[in-house]
Symmetry: C2
Subunit: 578 residues, 2 copies
């Protein structure tokens, strides 16, 4: 392969950049304008959610977007601060800044840096598959619980009171303690904001279409709703000088390009941030890759998960060097970008330019922006994260999945995001392992007039008292080998008539060394009792392996191609043996 | 069920005791004599290995044996100190006594107590299945490494020098530092002892048979070899007063019944012992249950793993109350017990009586027993633990299993027993999970003239350019759902002719909620691209589940009973559609 191929593998821009056309540029530009309008309030709000000054949200959307557009493989993904990652950032930083002597904003840079390094390392080591070990229901439960936690955490801004906490009991305890201090004007702004934004989200578009606007135009206005809320509430606060009445505002935001910052990478801080950074990296990666994958498939495009890790890693390192905090590919902004017609990652670069302009010129205009409006924006945005459907679906489909979701939701709400997601992931893995350790084993018999064997408990079948036919519906490995062994022993101890055991292996995709040793042992034990052991329907790759060892030589019975042949074989042996 | 059944479930003695006969008593008595002779040197040696005075080994073989004979379900198992558990005990105690203010022997009582409580709790909670998650190769690797560590640790006694350490680098570093202090007479006793015992183990029995002894008699003498070594070396040391020349001896051992002791169960000590006790309990249980299972099946007897946990738990609690240390069912002693004709657990009770007699009357006779002889007994005994066969077998059979064994062996040797076995168990579980996350997926086609579908890479088959038939050789769950999704997308992105995807599910034993969601997503994506999705050969239990949700309604294709029907179905659709 020529050298350029490997360059373009790590720099996908070399691939799409080569054929970049005027049409594509125009599409990208239009998409960028729409996304920029959407991102300004989001960036400010998520910065507040992460506990950082509003400009950090803008900065975190500029350099990361640029870097991702050079290194990412998705053509539609928009990278920047997102709700769940901002919540995890806040939880981590408030803990770390309590125990270590480090500034909050500095620690945010470090967290982005460590997280970026982890993502980059995972990408270079091609460890993208790790994300697969997070089950959908657990992720969904975690995101639902995070949404609820985020919304709960914003109530203080809507009420205009002081409150803190990172779990539901803490937050509500704190809210209840301070609720008497509620600022009525702030509460009015917040409540109207929530109601308005909720209506924008659900009722505005149909209403605009009804009054005769074209769907695309209606869509645009629905998306611009949060901007409208910000403009209106800012004007009201400014006009009536409501800061005098105690309404909390954003205040002075510097007019500046993203600053060049150096994260504190002292050993203690990195050690304290490492665990949370791993979780933030993996959760962020899962969120990002899901969106990227979904959008790419719609256009028959490819996503390379390992290169995505590199892209997101670079984006986070970029955030740490430019006054930001941990970022990832966001769901809503990417969908908007895609729907608005973005053709290439250049749309991201244009969006970055738009946000730079905002950081340079618009910041003085938001001096009077009330925090309650930002909180309303967040509350309405995160309510879409709450996914009751998965909870209901898992209840009908599988109680085990339901249990994993419920535990994740409850632990996240009560113990916080880190423990919640860790417990959920471990629980789902343990449940899977437990399940595979107790495989379904069916005693089978011949369906009359056919060559099919079916479960004797479910069907009317022909059996022979001297033959035990077992179908194992699972690969055999160390955790279930002993289960099978006990199953066979249990069955033969009481039944002196048995002379033949046949294991039907049609669903056995693997036999590991532990299981092989167990089969060898079973073979010997059965031999001592005058019973022979046969196998049937062994798959090619499994058979290849078995042939490498002495097991097949020692086998007292035979390996039959089909269960029918096996049954006929041993029953004939019985007939002629008598 | 009548009440007596449940009593006899927790007290198996009520079952066998009711029909106990004179013949059985005689058989048990003979077995007990042989096992007692074998256990005296072993008990002394394993006490030394655990770092405890010799009498502790005798005590640990008395009360535990009695309790197990009442509560255990195996009729042949002999419970007492064993090599690997003694090694783990020494490693734990030397660490704990360094950090906490507690005597070594007291801590040994506590460790036995905590370990007994854990076993008992596991038994009552019916958690016996946990032992299944330790793969045979990992256990074998761990026991091999432990054998090597134990042998290395005994060199100091053979050389008559001071040395310590719990890992190979530590032990050898310490040995090298002190080798110059070697006591030549001790070394002579130790080296001759090792050579003699090795010959007893391998050459004595054939030699005796050759000079005309009956095999049973030859067997008896071969088993009495260690006793002979002890008697001879003790006599030599006494006769020539070799303690004057610096030969280390056992010294004064109290003549006494097992004392009544109370373990120290202070919070700090229990917390420090808990982790190691879990490992000791599980490893001990695995060793014990393997032996019990093997011996029981030979006589068509049943072992109840959960009741075994209760029996072993009681044995360990008994050890902690009678001056002992952690115990479990030993391999060699149980096999000897079985071969000597033990019929019931009463053999164990008789052995306990024999050992009590030894503790009361024989201890003065071993005053001059050189430690080098005990070390030689240990070295020769543990060399049989070294299992090169599994290492070789795993190399041929599966590189993955080989990797797990090698890591376990190396980490145990270099980092010690606790880290070694923990890392091995985790690694084998992670490898299994990794494996199931990348299932074997085969593109299949029709074998001409049959209804069978085979891998297109391995067989000459009929395919249709508009149909993609994939056979998935694994259950679908969260960790492999995305793999399948990517596999399908990768395949369809480049091939515009595809109109039908059929998933052949003959080896899919389960589809969890994550996989179901992925299939729903795949169905939607394919629909957008004008491709329909069908399933074939879905198993009964899987189908039952799928019917609970809306997936089958949304499915663009159909669910076919067989892959043949599916292929015929869609190809006809292609023909009529054009």
């Amino acid at each position: 392969m020529p050298r350029t191929v490997s360059w373009s593998r790590y720099f996908p821009i070399l691939k799409w950049g080569r054929t970049y056309s005027g049409t594509a540029a125009l599409n990208d530009l239009i998409a960028a304008v729409i996304v920029t309008i959407m991102l300004i309030p989001q960036s400010l709000a998520y910065a507040m959610l992460a506990g950082l000054p509003p400009e950090a949200g803008l900065y975190a959307s500029i350099v990361p977007l640029l870097l991702y557009s050079v290194l990412g493989t998705s053509r539609s993904l928009a990278v920047g601060p997102v709700a769940v990652i901002s919540l995890m950032t806040a939880a981590t930083l408030s803990e770390v800044t309590q125990t270590l002597e480090v500034g909050y904003a500095t620690a945010a840079l470090s967290l982005a840096g460590v997280s970026g390094a982890i993502l980059l390392a995972m990408g270079l080591l091609r460890l993208g598959f790790i994300a697969n070990f997070l089950s959908h229901p657990v992720i969904s439960g975690f995101i639902t619980a995070s949404g609820l936690l985020i919304a709960a955490g914003q109530f203080k801004h809507v009420l205009g009171i002081e409150a803190d906490g990172h779990t539901v009991p803490e937050i509500f305890g704190s809210l209840v303690a301070h609720v008497a201090e509620t600022n009525p004007i702030t509460f009015a702004i917040g409540a109207v904001g929530v109601a308005f934004l909720f209506w924008v989200r659900t009722g505005l578009r149909p209403a605009l279409v009804r009054i005769g606007l074209r769907p695309q135009v209606a869509d645009f206005w629905a998306k611009a709703g949060p901007v409208l809320a910000i403009v209106l509430s800012t004007l009201i606060v400014w006009q009536f000088d409501l800061t005098q009445s105690g309404v909390q505002i954003v205040g002075a935001v510097p007019q500046s390009l993203p600053p060049f910052t150096l994260p504190d990478l002292s050993r203690d801080l990195v050690a304290a941030l490492f665990g949370p950074a791993v979780l933030i990296s993996i959760i962020g990666f899962v969120e990002s890759i899901s969106v990227a994958q979904t959008l790419a498939t719609k256009k028959r495009q490819r996503i390379d998960p390992d290169q995505e890790l590199i892209g997101l890693g670079a984006a986070n390192i970029g955030a740490s060097l430019s006054g930001g905090f941990p970022v990832t590919g966001g769901f809503s902004r990417s969908v908007v970008n895609f729907d608005a017609g973005a053709d290439t990652p250049a749309a991201g670069a244009f969006t970055a330019v738009g946000l730079t302009a905002a950081a340079l010129f618009l910041t003085p205009l938001i001096f009077c922006l009330p925090k309650a409006t930002l909180a309303a924006t967040i509350i309405v945005a995160v309510l879409s994260l709450v996914d009751v459907r998965t909870l209901r679906q898992s209840w009908t489909y599988s109680k085990r999945d339901f249990g994993a979701v419920l535990v994740t939701v409850l632990l996240t709400l009560v113990l916080g995001v880190e423990l919640g997601v860790t417990a959920g992931v471990l629980l789902s893995l343990l449940l899977f392992l437990y399940d595979t350790s107790r495989p379904h084993v069916a005693e089978v018999g011949l369906v009359e007039g056919t060559e099919h064997f079916r479960n004797i408990l479910r069907h009317e079948v022909i059996t022979d008292p001297s033959v035990l036919s077992l179908r194992i519906d699972q690969s055999l490995y160390f955790a279930n080998a002993r289960f099978l062994e006990n199953y066979i022993y249990d069955r033969i101890i009481d039944d002196q008539r048995l002379k033949h055991v046949i294991l039907m292996c049609s669903a056995v995709n693997e036999i590991d060394l532990s299981a092989l040793e167990t089969l060898e042992l079973v073979n010997i034990r059965l031999k001592e009792l005058g019973i022979d052991l046969s196998l049937s329907e062994v798959k090619g790759p499994v058979m290849d392996r078995l042939q490498r060892g002495p097991f097949l030589e020692h086998l007292t019975g035979r390996v039959y191609l089909s269960q029918f042949e096996a049954f006929r074989g041993v029953v004939v042996a019985v007939a002629s043996g008598r």
